[in-house]
């Protein structure tokens, strides 16, 4: 494959710069922001001398770039600072546990989104011209239009208070094969519903548009003309080609999901990374905020990188990027 290597190298070279910009901005916001973390730590009736001493011990009086450099150096060695709300606990000891909670139900939501969204999109495209297509798309659009902060309380009202089918929130872990899993509990149903409905709508709408485009192609007509069964035409010829561009949105879908987790976790009381960072913000716990930013930014850059490169492999036009094709 000519041209794929420079493309990968170009993307790889760019990634550290984005990470640098994001972390530098976050660090600056934290250091120059309000709420001195040491004063928070020492409480309302603090001793100015002690505050000054701790500040010096931690090097908080050093020039900004020195502090940033030292933080990043420590971060590279796996030390993410100390939390000022969870007293004296190193951030790296607590953050991965929280991350695991969030990751497990978000991945499940992602799987649900694509498992339902993709077939729904194809189905709607095949029903074009009947009442089923616009109805499906409108219903999905309704779910996509509603912000999670509206759907969560409404679902809690209907499913938990009125019908009493599900608990209104919470998180219960079970140990399965040595892993702490919370996704086999009925408490997770509502959060999953809230997270996946808008995603399903988005994926289905895109998939429908892609399928419609492919359906108009000559090779589909050829496939039908040579007498292939409709199922074979759709699965082998239409779906396969319509699926290609969908790979790019996996990354975006994950970004959207994790963004929504903050509200989902806070409102349903799930002890994940979203709730963790929200508490950190309320307490000016800058080391925690910095660590979460660092980890999420890295994760997103990696996810985007992987999807971009994957797409570069799949579709040569992308990596040639306007220089050649078009």
């Amino acid at each position: 494959m000519p041209g794929i290597l420079p493309y990968i190298v170009r993307r790889l070279l760019w990634a550290p710069f984005v990470l640098l910009a994001v972390t530098l901005a976050t660090f600056a916001l934290g250091r120059f922001g309000p709420g001195d973390p040491i004063e928070v730590l020492q409480g309302q009736y603090n001793n100015p001398e002690v505050v000054e001493r701790i500040r010096q011990e931690r090097g908080l009086d050093d020039p900004f770039l020195n502090q940033y450099g030292r933080y990043m150096w420590d971060a590279l060695h796996g030390e993410l600072g100390t939390s000022s709300t969870y007293l004296g606990v190193a951030v790296e000891d607590i953050i991965f546990e929280k991350l695991w909670v969030t990751v497990q139900y978000n991945l499940l939501a992602l799987i649900i989104i694509f498992a339902i969204g993709l077939p729904a999109g194809i189905w709607a495209a095949l029903r074009r011209g009947t009442w089923q297509d616009p109805l499906t798309i409108s219903v999905l659009l309704l779910f996509r239009s509603l912000p999670v902060l509206v759907t969560i309380p409404i679902l809690q009202y209907i499913l938990a208070i009125k019908l009493g089918w599900l608990p209104s929130g919470g998180w219960d872990e079970r140990e399965i094969l040595g892993l702490k899993l919370g996704i086999f509990d009925k408490r997770i149903i509502m959060p999953l519903l809230v997270l996946s409905l808008p995603g399903i709508a988005g994926v289905a709408r895109l998939m429908r548009a892609q399928t419609l485009e492919v359906l108009d192609q000559d090779f589909v007509r050829t496939a039908r003309a040579k007498g292939l069964q409709e199922f074979v035409v759709v699965s082998r010829h239409v779906a396969r080609n319509a699926l290609l561009p969908m790979t790019t949105i996996v990354g975006f879908a994950l970004v959207g999901l994790l963004g929504g987790s903050l509200f989902v976790e806070s409102l349903f009381g799930i002890p994940g990374i979203g709730q963790f960072v929200w508490k950190a913000v309320l307490n000016y716990d800058y080391d925690v905020m910095m660590a979460v930013t660092l980890i999420t930014a890295t994760a997103f850059i990696l996810v985007n990188l992987v999807t971009d490169i994957a797409y570069g492999f799949i579709d040569p036009r992308v990596r040639l990027g306007g220089r050649g094709g078009g």
Partner: protein, 322 residues
Amino acid sequence: MVRAEAALEEPLAEARPRWGATALGRLLRNRLAVVCLAIIAVVYLAGILAPWVAPYAYDDQNLDNTYAGTSWSHPLGTDELGRDMLSRVIWAAQTTVVISAAVILTGGLALGVGLGLLAGYAGGRVDNLIMRVADAFFALPDILLLLLITATVRPRVEKLFEGQIAHWPVLGPIVDAGGPDYFLVFGALAFFGWVGIARVIRSQVLSLRESEYVLAARAMGASLWRVLGRHLLPNVTNLIVVSITFSLGAVAGTEIMLTWLGIGVQPPHPSFGAMIFNGSGLSTLRNHPNLLLVPAAVVGLLLFAFNLLGDALTDVLSPRRR
């Protein structure tokens, strides 16, 4: 040469009025789109005319009449302080209108369209710089950045407004009316609002740049601003209209999120976000669900209308889809 020019003149003069006439006509033939337009118009007009339309002021309390059900004097009931829900919804619509207008004008039109045009037309390093910044914005969950703004910028802006601007002659009363909140919400939204629209405009301009008529205009010595304003901008108007429709919905939705995060409009000023936040506590939900359902229904309807209208506009305005 003269004849060629005359021949060019004619179809041009004919082409101009057709855009509005046919596109609008096609849109109005779509019944669903008309319903959406009507919903949006009602909510927006109610918001703009709030001082005249709302039966009560948004902070008119009546502690003898809290949590009232529907009645002739309070069609949608009252909240925990006895404030009329209908009036609060109407005033909340005003907040939405004000913030949407400010965000769309600055973040959407000025920043988004401007940077999109510039990136697409200038190409090269300028394009690279603008688009990489856009990538960085796009790759991160905006909530994370909004959180950081909540934690760090908000107290400063408040201090700035209260410390200095509050004593200025004209702006002083605006500060009292919750100016800093509006400013923060609008600033945060405009800060993120430009990325999507800039990307769309850029990719369109990228291909338009190579078209013959732009080449011709440049060959005739048209200046940069003339090419951008006379030749490129009119050809991306369709895209702008569609993007703005979707963003108006998105802005209304994000305000709710911002209010929840604490960057939003603060009480007693009403906004849909504040009302939903207020009504979504579990005990409130159990005893007085209408506190949540009233604002949620209005917002849901409004956002749904914007999205449906955006879809209809996309169909009407893009010739390839038809």
